[in-house]
């Protein structure tokens, strides 16, 4: 078990010099800032004394101390700059490193784990939680260190200058601290209510706009409006409640700060009249009190930051502790492409998807897989590249258990067209060469041709260089599918898996592609999952899955002859094609 703070602090060692210099700067800045009022005090006390004596102050003396104050401020500012720049910089470095490793880890998590989490959840861990961890490791630590150093130094100086004023000045400062301690939970609660109400409005709006069609057809706009009005009113009240709490907090702090001024001038003033203190002392105290107000106020939210950081790190740790995909054995000979499945039974989370599957596909032959939605076709083909791990001793390639192949080599030997045609938002060319970056222009051309993508490229403004996806052109379902197919065909792999690759293309295009595939697949082992009979008709062997079992198996002719589910599918498809061709 990883310690949560170690999760981010383990990246610290290379940056320790920066951290050391950061803390040196911090110390320097506190020292300079604390020393500045001393100069002003000396200057003012001098002027006061001289004025009392009735003579003119020597401008040079005043200028010296004023100048000293300016120099100290400049130095304080400079060290303050380095403090922030260095320490914040380190926190950003830690964040970058943590994010890199988290990304790497997520990239290699097994599918079985990824299926159980939502993408949005992973994303929020990789973004919001990493940020929370950084805030705790960076700014929170800096403010904490600053407060820890500043408070004793300033307090020490105050007591050194004047014990009585210092003692009384502590009272309002303590008051501020207590007020915040007392009000913080109320403030948090009130703003939580506001957040919740807003989330509710958001959810309601989402639902209401998604259901716009229903809202219109049932003429229920008034109801929707009443509902959102009511929620908006609630939100208004929640905001007013928050403003009341906030108002109390800010007004109290303002009042207590004024009390501080009162104490300084009342106590200090009496002393000054008695001649025990100078006006310079009063002004210096004013500055010191100001300096201590901030750490008092910061303490509350710094603690909050650390709590949120810890929570964020815990959520990151949950992901980082997940075991990665298991790599296979060391190097082995090249894959020929013979596939064998023996007594395979498989399921997810206790739901059995496949049972008692036995299959043999010799190298270079084609297997067609048909069956109803949910019969286990996609699951069956996803076990070969080990997207899910089959039980040991059930799935073999070239007579060797898939678990005994190195994972990278196993997947390199399989080119696949997954059911969902996912494309990255980059150019069509880079999508096609995704599996094989060294593909030549001729090879890309060949893949494009086989996938029947040429006419589509003509329609796109920049052909192969057109950027697709979120930041580019949106392709139609059929275009996506064919690009995904071209991507697989560009890879020269001994095994080709096609998971319903032609569901979104029309019959003519399908026929053309199937023609190309026949030629391409001659030297390869091809597994093709399909909803349409036309896609598997020419396969060397066809299996029909029903509820995870092989219900029928044979060639197209044999299965039609059998007169079972396959034959019915074939007949239905013929009718469908006939209707499609009808022109009214």
């Amino acid at each position: 078990m990883l310690d949560r703070w170690r999760l981010i602090l383990r990246y610290l060692p290379p940056y320790r010099r920066i951290v050391v210099w950061g803390f040196v700067s911090l110390t320097a800045s506190v020292a300079m800032i604390a020393a500045t009022p001393l100069c002003i005090r000396v200057a003012l006390n001098y002027v006061e004394a001289v004025a009392k004596a009735g003579s003119r102050p020597d401008l040079q003396t005043v200028a010296f101390w004023a100048g000293a104050a300016v120099v100290l401020t400049v130095l304080g500012g400079l060290s303050g700059f380095f403090k922030r720049y260095l320490l914040m910089g380190v926190s950003r470095r830690l964040e970058t490193d943590l994010r890199r490793d988290l990304f790497h880890h997520i990239q290699h998590l097994p599918r079985s784990y990824l299926d159980g989490v939502r993408t949005g959840d992973l994303l929020s861990r990789a973004t919001a939680d990493v940020e929370a961890a950084r805030l705790a490791a960076g700014p929170a630590m800096m403010y904490l260190a600053d407060a820890a150093l500043r408070t004793p130094v300033v307090l020490g100086l105050m007591f050194f200058l004047n014990v009585e004023i210092a003692t009384f000045a502590l009272l309002p400062l303590g008051g501020i601290f207590v007020t915040l301690l007392f009000m913080a939970p109320r403030l948090k609660e009130a703003s939580r209510v506001v957040q919740d109400q807003l989330a509710e409005i958001s959810a309601r709006a989402q639902e209401s706009f998604s259901g716009a069609r229903v809202v219109k057809t049932f003429a229920m706009e008034h109801r929707e409006q009443r509902d959102i009005d009511a929620r908006s009113i609630d939100y208004l009240h929640a905001n007013r409640r928050l403003a009341r709490v906030r108002g109390v907090v800010w007004a109290s702090i303002g009042f207590l700060t004024s009390c501080g001024v009162l104490v300084i001038f009342l106590v200090g003033g009496r002393q000054a009249i008695a001649g025990d203190a100078g006006i310079g002392d009063l002004v210096a105290f004013l500055a010191y009190q100001f300096m201590l107000t901030w750490p008092m106020m910061a303490l509350g939210f710094v603690l909050g930051m650390i709590q949120r950081g810890a929570a964020g790190l815990d959520r990151i740790r949950e992901v980082m502790e997940q075991p990665l995909e298991v790599e296979g054995d060391a190097d082995v000979p090249a894959v020929r492409g013979e596939i064998e499945i023996k007594g395979l039974t498989f399921g997810y989370n206790g739901d059995r998807v496949l049972s008692g599957i036995d299959l043999k596909v010799s190298a270079g032959s084609t297997l067609g897989i048909v069956g109803a939605t949910g019969s286990g076709k996609s699951t069956l083909v996803s076990l070969l590249p080990r997207l899910y791990d089959p039980p040991p001793g059930t799935v073999f390639i070239d007579g060797r258990d898939v678990h005994e192949w190195p994972l990278a080599q196993l997947r390199a030997a399989i080119a696949a067209v997954p059911q969902e045609a996912f494309l990255y938002s980059r150019s069509v060319r880079r999508n096609i060469t995704f599996g094989r970056q060294d593909a030549t222009d001729d090879e890309i051309e060949a893949a494009v041709l086989r996938a029947h993508l040429t006419p589509d490229l003509g329609q796109l403004s920049e052909g192969l260089e057109t950027v697709v996806g979120e930041r580019g052109v949106t392709l139609s379902g059929g275009q996506k599918q064919r690009t995904s197919l071209a991507r697989a065909l560009a890879v020269d792999a001994p095994i080709l898996i096609l998971d319903d690759p032609l569901s979104a293309v029309d019959t003519e295009t399908e026929a053309a592609i199937l023609g190309h595939l026949k030629e391409f697949g001659a030297q390869r082992t091809v597994l093709i999952v399909a909803h349409r009979i036309s896609a598997v008709r020419d396969a060397d062997h066809i299996v029909l899955l029903d509820e995870g079992r092989i219900a029928e198996a044979g060639t197209h002719a044999e299965l039609v002859e059998l007169g079972g589910a396959y034959a019915r599918m074939a007949r239905a498809q013929e009718l469908e094609e006939e209707i499609e061709r009808l022109e009214p």
Binding site: E48, A51, P57, L59, V62, A66, A69, V70, T73, L78, G80, R84, T96, R99, F103, Q107, R111, T119, L123, L198, I201, S202, A205, E207, F209, A212, R213, K216, T217, A219, E221, Q225, S232, I233, N239, R240, A243, R244, G247, W250, A251, G254, F255, L262, F265, L266, R270, I273, I279, P385, L387, F422, Y424, S425, G435, R571, E578, I579, L582, P584
Partner: protein
Amino acid sequence: MNGAWRNVEESGRASWRTTGRLLRYVAPHRWLLTGLVTLLVVYSLSTLAGPWVVGKAVGEGVIDGSVEKLGFWMLVFMGAALLRTILSYCQMQLTTLMGQRVIYDVRTRLFRHIHRLPMSAFNKTPIGTLVTRVTSDVEALAELFSSGVAAVCQDLLTLVIVVVILFLVDVPLAVVVLAAVPLIVGFSLWFGGRMRKAFRAERGRLSELNGYQHEAFTGITVTRLFGREAHMQAGFEKRNLALRAARFKMIFNFSLFWPMVELLSALVTAGVVLVGAQRIGLVALGWDDFIFFWMLLMHFFEPLRDLSDKFNVLQAALAAAERIFGVLDTEEEEVDRPDAVAPKRLRGEIELRNVSFSYVPGEPVLRDVSFEVAPGETVAIVGPTGAGKTSIISLLSRLWDVDEGSVRIDGRDVRDYERRALRRRISVVLQDPFLFDGTIRQNLALGREIGDEELRRAARTVHADGFIERLDGAYDATVAERGANFSVGQKQLLSFARALVHDPDVLILDEATSSVDTETERLIQDALDRLLEGRTALVIAHRLSTIRRADRILVMHHGRLCEQGTHNELLAQGGLYARLHALSFGAQERRVG
């Protein structure tokens, strides 16, 4: 420096227009606004009263050696502080109240407007964008009221008062301070521009990185299948480092800003000490005035420091306001004709006369369709996917209007009816009834006042009472996540009940395609019979039994009406219907038979 100013000027023109429109939302609350402004003035004055009183306390008390005077002035100081505390509280409450009232108006108005947009607007704009308009954008606007405008006004007011007082008290000292004003303002704005630029660059890189991550997580299977994990990692690291670099730049700017402001304040303070020392020596300036000055300076720099921040808030709010007005400017559904009628009841005669219709110009989904439905008749529409069946529904309830021809109900063009009145008399039962988060009761009544007994009777009629009453809370049970807790069949019965509760004259039914178990099937068929009784009904049918019980069947193909007649007539014709029948129900009949 020029860049920053030019930006301000360019966005300025558009901003004035937006500001003008925003003011219209403030107008109804002008009394609140008047109160607020008064409060601001008093508050600013009370803020300045403190330093003046302390000055007096020092001058008349400490320097002149009078404990009584010191005590008196400090008492006055406490009074001022108390007043200021109360004022600051009131001001916050008033600002919040006004800001929240304005955004309440904006939000509800926006919401109403969105629901009046034509269906095409919903198809064009992602729902998420619309939601952002009524949430985040409205919130950004709230920020304008709660922290932006009030704070800026107060700051500027304080600044002006301070300058005036400074000149009244001592001209040379005032000059020293005033000389710093353009310096600080200029610096703050210039640096603010730099920081905004760095910030924008950082946001850009961040969203790029997040986009990349999102895509990488979504496409993880493809990455694996093609063994490109290392490639994806490299792409990620490139963006990760780019973000880090952008952030270093941002940190640099942020780290530099505060020390620079401090430095400027220090220079001014030192100037005050120097000039002040000289003038105290000359006895032109008393200690009281000096202390007054000194404490004024503390208030003087505060507003200048975060001028740039406030400016940001203002800009963000104006940008949000522009987006909001963008939606408000989108045209609503065509308003009803002035002489539009609002029928209490319909006879239920439907006629489509040479109707052509397309969602996208040039891609017709209905071509020259004509048919009639007599009152009380049940007509089934069948045809392959994409034949244009669903479009007919949309035309009848006027979600869309025809391109050519006319849709008539009771012999009158649907465009001559009041839209909402028409929709109230026509119930549409959709394939997948959209269930809202809420109770069963709310989902059935859809905002109308429906009596308990009426509700129960409707549910009983369509056999929905059985499962509803078994639910925890029965009619008050909540529907979770769009009805995820109901089966397909149950949802279908719920939508029947919903239609029945509204007792429509015309019923349009888009039958569910998904299969249900035989028992539920029997219930649904029986419920359907009761629902259709005495109403004109148009059914997009998928179930053989529904088609058979229809008085007439219309067969659609490629947007045209190509056959019509009864089941037996059409089967005998041996045309498209016969083939569709064989395709869809061949298996069904075999299984049943």
